[in-house]
């Protein structure tokens, strides 16, 4: 019943999107009405029935999307594990706040949240786009049509179109026709279905409640500038679309940027790789569209003020949206399988995803090529001292950054396309992702950050058209101040890489000059603060990332290492009750305790005392292990925050046996294969020698001559390190085809 409702709403959303695209498109492109506005920019009278039909269809689409969301949420909240999606992503003991995380943990759910944001933002176009409504809403309708097709879950001529979150377990293709699917109460009878698989323990973190919707809202926000750009270029208004699209571009920059930062915060707080950014393909895939969107948003100002750079701006805007689609393709197609730690499972939708991506890329490219001539010719080159010249250069620098990240992230895709086993085998051997990702990305991204921070410091002081030399003197105070302060800070921080020092100074320069710009030249009021404060904030992010990464060090250095080129070991073993030196602290492990699903390990940090005796207790931390029998245990960090530094801890290894088990004296079992006379070192304590194998009895089946029973024993000597010896006998029998192991006994 509910599954049917879910399906119904899905189809409603799909048909609604089709109707939106169709009616808006018809109204937009009907003969003699190439545009929502006439030659003088006045709104053209719309064809009322078509306009109403378009809006009505979009309303139906929105109802469908809301319905899908409601049904799925209800199913998760009510623990209807008959839904495969609910069974896979939630469980009865899931805390209420993680219901939403369960909703968007899977591919289908994350498509739904994305579609939802598109639908919500679409209403802003219906209400406020005026002459642009027809064009932009046609594009929105088409995008929604394609996206809702990803959750349809139907088969067209045997080809799977989309994957529905409303599939029941008995309807899964792999279960079709199995005998239990006909039992009415199979959900109760089969123990595995009584409770869901549960949410991945790593995602049970409050950041996972707010990070995905923010990121997807940011992704969705790139649709609006894209829709305006496409509408503008089709209507032969290749510059005018920029003005209404500009606020949305900055909205996208803000929200997507926040989403990416939240991802970093989540990684730092909940994942134990010891940082906020790992240049993981999935992280990169969300960063690249942001970079191009920032470039696009800055270029849009040139178009608005100077009526030039229309082509580059449209390219960047379209690229941002296409890169969002590409990032969905990367994370969902399973192509990143062996290069990323967090990619989705392949749902068999690769063809559809590629079609979606290809359709919009080729469409945008054709549109740009066909309409390139409608761009107004710019009469003169931009002056060297003009703001627009440097904004263009800056956006090209950002493009370099985006190209490098995209290229390296796409290596698995390139292998699929042109690798030795790819579609067009060009490469002799498959490319592997760079082995040292940090060095690889930093070699380009740090110089880019240096240039960008210089631009951020100086370009805001430039004027459109050209800048008198006198104005440039305004940046001198902040330049001198940043050289002095930056020099002092660099002297104090002692970075081991000269590039870090340069970035420290340029980053400071852009922070100070923007502060200066705001306070001295823009009056320091809140209304005029947007540009300067945004730049100031970004400069702080750069500086923060630089200092925290550049000065990151493992205090838990283990002196044991294997090879001169092998990084020193960053894990150290603390025996229970012992105190271990971790410069500048002494660390003591006092005990462990279990709280719900968590096993916490209490460690105390003491200050160093000169006479080597532990000083006074500074703070306690409790890194923990989240125990999850189904998904495996997950280690979670615990961090002490100081204003200028963090002490970050996590348990990389612990004896996870229960206290009773540990006390019983039994150790974990181990395997050893040995022949007569051979010795094996066992349990890091005993030398075990196989003395002899004794046959105790054997019986034959008279008719066939086969062995009926055979009883044997292996005599083993355990030699302790101090010389003690013990002999044990391990019996072993064979009854027909079955082996019957016996219990070992001490013989003396």
């Amino acid at each position: 019943m509910w599954a049917l409702a879910g399906r119904f709403f899905t189809y409603l959303a799909f048909t609604g999107a089709l109707g939106t695209a169709f009616f808006y498109g018809l109204n937009w492109l009907r003969p003699g009405a190439c545009s929502g506005a006439d030659e003088l920019g006045r709104p053209r009278p719309a064809h009322e029935p078509f306009l109403r039909a378009g809006r009505g269809a979009f309303a139906l689409h929105s109802i469908g999307v809301l319905g899908v969301l409601t049904v799925l949420l209800t199913a998760i909240l009510s623990h209807w594990f008959e839904f495969d999606y609910v069974w896979r992503h939630s469980s009865r003991d899931l805390p209420l706040e993680y219901v939403f995380s369960a909703l968007w943990e899977g591919q289908e759910g994350s498509f739904i949240i994305w579609i939802f944001w598109h639908a919500a933002l679409g209403w802003f176009l219906v209400r406020g786009a005026k002459t642009w409504e027809h064009g932009t809403m046609t594009v929105v309708g088409l995008v929604q049509l394609v996206l809702t097709s990803m959750i349809l879950g139907i088969y067209v001529f045997g080809v799977k179109v989309g994957s529905s979150p409303f599939v029941l377990i008995r309807e899964l293709p792999e279960n079709l026709g199995l005998p239990w699917t006909t039992i009415k109460d199979y959900m109760i009878r089969i123990p595995a279905f009584r409770d869901g698989q549960g949410l991945n323990p790593l995602l049970q973190n409050y950041w996972m409640v707010i990070h995905p919707p923010t990121l997807f809202l940011g992704f969705a926000a790139t649709l609006l500038p894209f829709a305006y750009a496409v509408a503008g270029w089709i209507e032969r208004r290749p510059l005018e679309w920029v003005t209404p699209a500009l606020p949305w571009a900055y909205f996208g920059v803000g929200v997507l940027g926040t989403g990416v930062l939240m991802g970093g915060a989540w990684a730092y707080e909940a994942l134990s790789f010891g940082g906020f950014w790992a240049w993981d393909p999935v992280e990169n895939a969300s960063l690249v569209p942001w970079i191009t969107l920032v470039a696009a948003a800055h270029l849009m100002f040139i178009v608005k003020k100077k009526k030039t750079s229309g082509g580059l701006t449209a390219i960047m805007v379209m690229l941002s949206f296409l890169l969002v689609l590409y990032s969905t393709f990367l994370t969902r197609s399973g192509v990143l399988g062996d290069s990323s730690v967090h990619s989705f499972v392949d749902l068999g939708l690769n063809g559809q995803l590629m079609l979606l991506l290809g359709l919009f890329s080729v469409g945008s490219l054709i549109l740009l090529l066909v309409r390139w001539r409608s761009l107004p010719r710019s009469s003169a080159d931009e002056a060297f001292s003009s703001r627009e010249f440097w904004l263009v250069i800056g956006s090209l620098v950002l493009l370099i950054s985006a190209v490098q990240i995209s290229f390296s992230t796409s290596i698995p895709v390139l292998n699929k396309l042109i690798g030795p086993e790819g579609l067009v085998p060009i490469l002799g051997e498959a490319m592997a992702p760079p082995t040292d990702v940090f060095r690889h990305y930093h070699s380009i991204q740090i110089p880019v950050a240096i240039v960008i921070s210089l631009f951020m410091a100086m370009v805001p002081f430039l004027r459109w058209d050209s800048t008198p030399n006198a104005l440039l003197k305004r940046i001198l105070p902040s330049l001198i101040a940043s050289l002095v302060l930056g020099g002092l800070a660099a002297w104090g921080l002692k970075f081991d890489q000269p590039m870090y020092t340069v970035l420290l100074i340029t980053g400071m320069f852009s922070a100070l000059s923007n502060l200066d710009l705001w306070l001295r030249y823009q009056g320091g009021g809140w209304r005029s603060s947007g540009q300067a404060l945004a730049h100031l904030g970004f400069a702080f992010i750069l500086l923060g990332a630089l200092i925290s990464n550049g000065k990151k060090q493992a205090i838990s250095q283990n002196p044991v290492f294997l090879h001169k080129d092998f990084p020193a070991n960053e894990h150290i073993l603390i025996p229970l009750g012992d105190t271990v030196s971790m410069h500048p602290y002494w660390v003591e492990w006092t005990g462990e305790r279990v709280e719900g699903h968590f096993q916490l390990f209490d460690v105390n940090f003491y200050g160093t005392a000169e006479d080597q005796s532990p000083g006074k207790k500074l703070f306690s931390l409790a890194p923990y292990i989240q125990m999850n029998p189904r998904m495996g245990n997950v280690r979670e960090p615990s961090t002490k925050h100081y204003w200028d530094r963090d002490v970050y801890t996590y348990v990389s290894f612990a004896d996870m046996r229960s206290p009773e088990e540990k006390a019983s004296g039994w150790t974990e079992e181990m395997d050893a294969t040995m022949g007569r006379g051979e010795e094996v070192f066992v349990f890091e304590e005993y030398m075990m020698r196989c003395d002899s194998i004794i046959v105790k009895s054997a019986q034959m089946i008279e008719e066939t001559g086969d062995l009926a029973t055979l009883d044997m024993a292996a005599k083993l000597t355990l030699k302790h390190m101090d010389g003690r010896k013990e002999t044990i006998e391990v019996p072993y029998g064979v009854r027909g085809n079955e082996a019957t192991p016996g219990e070992a006994e001490f013989v003396n």
Binding site: R88, E105, Q197, N200, L202, L271, S272, F273, A278, G337, D338, S339, V341, H342, S343, F344, V345, L396, V397, L399, I400, V403, Q404, F407, S408, I411, E429, A430, M431, A432, P433, P434, T435, D436, H440, S443, I444, N558, V560, L562, H563, D565, F566, P567, N569, E570, H571, I572, L573, M631, G632, N633, V634, R635, S652, F653, M670, D671
Partner: protein, 117 residues
């Protein structure tokens, strides 16, 4: 434009190639990526005082090598059907892995892949 091409060239040159253990030993001390399988017949041991995991892996050419990894055993390590090792060879005795990525066979276990970092 020249910058763009330059950046791309640097990037391409930096991309490594998939290697076998034999190629890895020739390239020492350069880091390489080896794709292979875990040899379950050989013991997998973890020494907690040096925090060093020791196991045996078989590369695509069928060559075996002892691998050291200075991290605890990744979750579901034994169940992996393919492992991607990034690291360097000591010459001829062992391979030192800096990073291990696993590919798990089960549809549902795939989503738990996070934890291998």
């Amino acid at each position: 434009m020249a910058f763009l091409v330059g950046a791309l060239m640097v990037t391409i040159q930096d991309a490594s190639t998939y290697a076998t253990f034999e190629m890895a030993s020739k390239k020492t001390p350069e880091s390489v990526t080896v794709v292979g399988q875990l040899d379950l017949k050989e013991p997998i041991t973890f020494n907690s005082s040096t925090s060093m995991l020791r196991f045996t892996a078989v590369d695509k050419d069928g060559e075996r090598s002892i691998v050291y990894y200075n991290q605890p055993k990744p979750t579901d390590f034994e169940r992996s059907e393919e492992i991607t090792l990034t690291g360097l060879s000591s010459g001829d005795t062992a391979f030192f892995a800096q990073n291990i990525l696993m590919k798990c066979p089960s549809k549902y276990a795939d989503e738990a892949q996070f934890s291998s970092k």
